[in-house]
Structures are given as C-alpha cells and as structure tokens.
Symmetry: C2
Subunit: 136 residues, 2 copies
C-alpha cells in the first residue's frame, strides 16, 4: 500500500508557507495562485499552524472581519495535525474521516517535509485503479 | 462496489440550498452552521449553480469584494457537475481527481436529489476497510 512518502515523491514539494504576521488577504492570494486550500504558518523553521479555506469561512468571513486587517496568527488552526513519512494511505484516510480534516502536515524529527490532502489520497487510489485495469 | 445511492442513503439529505439572490455573507453563515463547504443555488426547482469555499476565496476574498454586497448569482459556479444515483464510488473518485472538484450534484431526470463530496467517498472506503478487517 502507498505511503505518505510515495505521495510526496509523486506530487513534489508544493507546500505554501507564510509567516504568522502575514495578513489573511495576502495568504488568500498565495493560496489562489497555487490553487491550494491551505497555507502552513512557519516560525523559526517550525510549523506553528495551518490556515485553510474553512478557517477563512468560519473565522473571517462569517464574523464579518476585514481580511486586510487580520494576521494569520489570530485565525490559524494550531497545532497542525501531522503524520510521518511511513504512514500508509489507509491511516491517512482514517484520520481525514475521523477528525474531519482535509490536510495533514508531514513531519519527521520536528522538520516539516510537506503536506498531504484528502485529494492526494484519492489521486493515489485512482492511479491504483488504473494500474489494476492495465494488469488484467 | 458502493454507489452514489448508497452514499446518499447512509449520510441522509444534508444538502444546503440558497436562492440566486442570497448574499455571499448569508450563504457563508448557512455553510458554517451546517459544517459544509458548499451550497447549491436553486431556482424554479432546478439546480442553477454551486458556491463553494474555493469560490469564496477566488471570487470574493482575493478581489477584495464585500460579502454583504454580492449575490450568489454573481459568484457561483454554473452549471453544477452532476452524477446519477447509479454511479459507483470509482467513477466519482475519477471525476473528483480529473476535474479537480470537491462536490458533485446527484441528479435524476432533472431533479436534484443530493450532493456528494470527496469526503463522502473517503468515508465509504474507510467503512469498507473496517468491514474487511472484521471479516478476516
């Protein structure tokens, strides 16, 4: 079964990073350009939190706050839920479902190596289906 | 293999609906309360479009528009990508991956029966894994 390491190898290091003092609006521009739903907040080389489209909805737009005047440190989700490189697709799937998450940080010995999303797990399964069909 | 109908039966009719004239801010409150990432825009009993967290990011927050002054008709994605009740989990997974979507409308003979999300497909797979483990 594919592991988190396999997923990172195939999709490449497409992690989007920001500082705690980045404004929400600046972060949304980064997310939009990269076509991703989350940005990781780093400070002193450690992942301090994550800011997602869901956080934007709940903590900024619904309360009617101005995205230009809020820093990520105020609205990020912290700490970030993480997995190790060796975790397999089934474990990730369970975490996404049970904890109602869409993104997981990949961390080894304190170092942030990447992010995997619910969509990445699905893409692995699609690739496995195709391989099965070819092998028939 | 589980079908779209099986998914709808197990999760129930949890579809969130709004009018084209609903403001973005009103829609985000509905999405927040229901803990979902999308709302379907209905007019004359037909699904006209869908408004998702991604649309909020790209079409409202990034361009700096005021969520209280925009109606969903201006920023929804239309038409809605749909599947039929008989589609199976593998087909949905392929559509989500290939078309980079997170939600699909379930439509039979023009009638909107529900929505399924990328997360719903993952939840089916987790349930199948658990069943496999129990059967061993």
């Amino acid at each position: 079964m594919a592991t988190v390491e396999d997923i990172l190898m195939s999709k490449g290091p497409d992690i989007i990073v920001a500082d705690p003092s980045t404004t929400v609006h600046e972060a949304t521009v980064l997310m939009c350009e990269a076509n991703v739903g989350a940005v990781v907040i780093k400070e002193q080389n450690e992942a301090r939190g994550i800011f997602t489209e869901r956080d934007l909805l709940r903590r900024v737009v619904v309360p009617g706050r101005n995205p230009d005047q809020i820093e990520l440190r105020e609205v990020m989700t912290s700490p970030v839920r993480s997995v190790s490189l060796g975790a397999d697709v089934r474990e990730c799937r369970e975490i996404f479902t049970r904890e109602h998450l869409r993104h997981l940080a990949v961390v080894e010995e304190g170092a942030l190596l990447g992010m995997i999303s619910l969509r990445d797990v699905l893409a692995v399964e699609v690739a496995e289906d195709e391989q099965l069909l070819q092998d028939r």
